[in-house]
Each structure stands twice: as C-alpha cells, then as structure tokens.
C-alpha cells in the first residue's frame, strides 16, 4: 500500500489536529472526534493511528509537562507536518471530486 494513502480514521484525526491547533493531545482529540464526527474511539486506537502517521512523516509529536490530574503522566501533543498537510489536502480533494453529482440527503444515496 502506498504510504501516502490515508485511512478514514487517519484523515479524521489529522483534521482534528488541524482544528485544535496547539491544544491537540489525546483527550482533546477524542472529544473533538466525539462531538464533531460522532465517533467514540478508544484512546489506544487513537495513539496506534498516530504512531502510524508519525512513521509516515505526516505528524510530529512532543511531550508536555506531567500533571497531578493525569497521575503524573505527560501529555503528548501533535501537529501536522507539511507532508501530512499535503497528503490530507490530496485526500480531501479526491473525496470531494468523487462526491460531485452524488446527493446523500437523508442518509441515503439519491442519484
């Protein structure tokens, strides 16, 4: 598989990182997915997807400071790399191109 391809969860995660800006870490990303995409994803699945994206060079991560409320564990923040942004744009363009002429109103396809 081409490592420039993005899965649906990967695309949504990258969009969440874009939306959250400097505050993109596990809990805030999970909330963004829940409120905006109505997707209740386990935190382990989110980190697994981010590890994949990091290996592809689409995101960068860094550790914040540990806090008491997190049991002394640090937050891991994410941001998109230029390569990731390009790949996301290409994927979104491809999806939008394929959507032209299709009408999904009411949750069903009305050709």
């Amino acid at each position: 598989m081409n490592d420039r391809n993005l899965g649906s969860l990967e695309s949504i995660l990258m969009l969440a990182v874009l939306r959250l800006g400097d505050d993109a870490y596990g809990v805030s990303i999970r909330h963004e997915l829940l409120t905006r995409a109505q997707k209740d994803v386990a935190i382990g699945a989110i980190y697994t997807a981010f590890e994949r994206l990091e290996r592809k060079g689409f995101v960068q991560s860094w550790l914040g400071n540990p806090t008491a409320v997190r049991g002394g564990r640090a937050k891991r923040y994410y941001r998109l790399t230029p390569r990731g942004l390009k790949s996301l744009t290409e994927t979104q363009r491809a999806i939008q191109g394929m959507m032209v002429g299709l009408n999904f109103a009411g949750g069903t396809l009305n050709a």
């Binding site: 596990g26 809990v27 386990a42 935190i43 382990g44 980190y47 008491a68 049991g71 640090a74």
Partner: protein
C-alpha cells in the same frame, strides 16, 4: 485545592502486556484526566464505570493490531511445534537439543563404564549453551528488532508457553518424578530434563528487559 478522586486503577492489569509501548504513559494519563472530568460532571460511580469500560476497550484496540497478532501467532507456532514433538521426548526450548545432540556427542569425552554424574552435568551444560542460553539471550533481540515496544508481551507469552509445556511434561511423567524425587531428591535426572523449558526464562527476561530499556532510552533521546 479540589480533592482528586481515585480511579479503579487495579483494572489496568489488563494493559500490563502493553506497558512497554511508547504510548502507554499517555493512555494512562488520558484515562486519568478524563476520569477526573467525569467525576466532576457525572459523579464518582459513573466515572468509575466509564474507567473500567474504557480500559477494556483499550485492551481490545491494542490487541487487534498487526504487531500484537504477530506476537500471538509466533507464540502459537512455538506451542504447536512444541506439542507436536511432545509425545516423543521432553525437549528444551526450540527443541534444538534433539538436533544438536548427534553433533555434540562426538565432541564430548567418552564415559568410562556407567556414565558418572559429572559427565552427565557437563553434557547438560554443553547442550544448554546452544539450546537455551544463546537462544534465550538472542530471542528478545530479534523480536525487539521486528516488533518494537512489545517486550512485555513477548515475556508474557514465552513464560506462559514454558510453564504450560513444563506442567504438561510433569503430568505425563508424574509417577516417575515422584519415585525419583524420593530416591534422588530435587536433582533427579527426570526433574532436571523435564524442567528444561523453564531454564530459558531467566535468559529471556534479562535480555528482554535490557532491550526494553535500551529502546526506551533511544526513544527519549
């Protein structure tokens, strides 16, 4: 300062095999943070229920990945291989002894008369080197290169396999072992031979912990 509620952390034992992975501290931290948010919003009972459910969900999501499945398949292969040769003789890890015995036997000094205990002991040590010590030290190194961050899972499955196969050997030769224990004590030949699969565990654990620490230091750097 508001009091911090305590999450039912005992349930985290489910995630023990994944503790060596780089994302584990963040998973634990995120669960704690969201637990505190839920305590202030919905109360402690709801938050505790949510915490337990989320640990289960994370257990499944971390298990159903190709890396974890690869470790399980690798272990099942060892188990199937071990049990397929089980009826013939108790053999140490990877059953190399059986293959190496004909090669090593001519290299050993010939025994004069009935084989003395020292001769048997030297023979066992020489057999342990290529069958137990070297594979035990190198197995985590190979797995560490192929499956980064899964040393705990590797230790867990290999220990379960070695214990399982030893118990099976023990059950199959129970009468002989009891008879020899009464006659010879714990150093009876059958006990030594039947516990061979366990002998690899210290080497696996030492090497695996070293690989885990080395990988963690490199990740931090």
């Amino acid at each position: 300062m508001p009091e911090i509620a305590v999450a039912p952390r005992w349930i985290l034992f489910l995630l023990w095999p994944f503790k060596g992975e780089s994302c584990y501290p963040q998973i634990e931290g995120d669960l704690s943070e969201e637990f505190q948010l839920r305590v202030s919003k919905n109360g402690i009972a709801d938050a505790r229920q949510w915490y337990r459910r989320e640990v289960f969900r994370n257990f499944w999501s971390l298990t159903w990945r190709w890396e974890t499945i690869a470790v399980i398949v690798l272990t099942l292969f060892f188990v199937a291989f071990g049990y397929s040769t089980f009826p013939r003789m108790p053999i140490p890890f990877l059953h190399l002894a059986r293959l190496l015995e004909p090669v090593l036997d001519p290299l050993l000094p010939p025994a004069l008369g009935p084989q003395p205990f020292i001769y048997v002991s030297i023979r066992i040590v020489i057999l342990l080197l290529p069958t137990t010590i070297i594979p035990g030290l190198s197995f985590p190194l190979v797995c560490g290169a192929l499956l980064r961050g899964h040393q705990r899972m590797i230790r867990f499955v290999v220990t379960a396999y070695c214990l399982g196969i030893t118990v099976l050997y023990g059950i199959s030769q129970f009468d002989t072992i009891i008879r020899e224990l009464r006659q010879w004590g714990p150093l009876s030949p059958t006990v030594i031979v039947h516990s061979l699969p366990l002998w690899i565990l210290p080497f696996i654990w030492v090497s695996s912990i070293w690989v885990e620490r080395h990988q963690r230091r490199r990740a931090i750097a």
